[in-house]
Amino acid sequence: MKEVEILVKVESDLQPVLAKMALFEKKGVKEVLDIYYYDPLRSELQPKDFALERCFRLRQKGDKSYMTYKIDHFEGDVWSYSDEFEIEISSVSQAEKIVKELGLEELIRIDNTKYLFNDDLYEIAIEDVKGLGIFVEVERLEVKDEEEIELVNEEIRNFIKKFDISCKEMNMGKPELMLRLSKKS
């Protein structure tokens, strides 16, 4: 599945941003723990100068667990979209054992409270990320193969402008931001 989303860092506290989301139907609040891994033997799953071209993670989101592998695609140096392979699993703790036997090592953990909102075309998440700050992440729910990614990205940017919040677009994901913060290259 193609994952096309825009991540912005918000230059305010959480409450003013949540207040702006009154336009949208609340979908709930989820506590999310993401555990990212690297592979000491496979260079494609290792960070290079804090950047990740591929990532593998286990996620605990509320009472559901997921395993995900993402392959990033770039336009030059700019992230464009990711091929995302995700599956719901019954247990992160069992998956950690399997992952460990496959030789993967833990890279970074990201603790996040996600405030989720409904829209017909987009998944909207206001994220309070421990150690990193407040972010807004908007992902288009369905991207057809024939669609031009940059046009979809522009569409999402225009949608975010309607929120009327002071923010800065991030050209990197939260794992990279966290790696830079912890200086784990």
């Binding site: 496979r42 593998f56 395993m67 392959i71 392979f85 599956i87 719901e88 069992q94 399997i98 036997e101």
Partner: protein, 194 residues
């Protein structure tokens, strides 16, 4: 979870005869249909990771222990019975085990299983590119004399070498390879087992 298993080969005639013989002794078997998609890096001969679908129930399974060992440790995770998600898991595992010794064997079983308090006895008819027949005795009691059980039913454990050469030949003759299948072909096969 630790498992101690003994494996051996039989032919089609023996398979049919033994179903009757064992049923007389142990009662009617449970019949189960299974699809296993192995996604493993054979550079590590102590690890066997598979997606398994048994009678519609899907799981991720990993066995840890030398291939030729009788006793191995097994971990299982339940999965949703959804073909698209299972295909996603295949892609995930494929990327995680990518390398020169990667294997992606598609293994199909029709199993006849007898459970007692002391052991589980399974006769398998495997299909794919051809047909092969084999048995597996899994002990529930660590100190059980497995040779007595096998002798009672006229079964002989395979005593030859079962390393890479053996299994590569076995897979070439019997099993499909997921890498040779299109996404749609693999999805259709997965759906047929759900």
């Amino acid at each position: 979870m630790k498992e101690t298993e003994f494996w051996g080969l039989i032919d089609k005639n023996q398979f049919e005869e033994k179903i009757d013989k064992i049923s007389l002794e142990l009662g009617e078997p449970e019949q189960r249909k299974r699809l296993s998609i192995e996604v493993s890096d054979w550079a590590d001969k102590t690890l066997d990771t598979r997606i398994r679908i048994t009678d519609g129930k899907a799981e991720l399974m990993q066995k840890k222990g030398n291939w030729e060992a009788d006793t191995k440790k097994e971990i299982r995770i339940d999965l949703k019975a959804d073909a698209a998600e299972i295909l996603n898991l295949y892609e995930i595992l494929f990327n995680l085990t990518n390398g020169d010794e990667q294997r992606t064997n598609v293994i199909q079983f029709e199993n006849y299983i007898w459970e007692t308090d002391l052991y589980e006895l399974k006769l398998s008819h495997q299909t794919g590119k051809s047909d092969k027949y084999n048995f597996e005795l899994e002990l529930k009691e660590e100190n059980l004399d497995y040779s007595k059980v096998l002798k009672k039913f006229g079964l002989h454990p395979y005593e030859g070498e079962r390393g890479i050469a053996f299994w590569d030949k076995w897979n070439r003759e019997l099993n499909l390879d997921a890498r040779d299948m299109t996404e749609d072909e693999l999805k259709v096969l997965i759906k047929s087992y759900l």
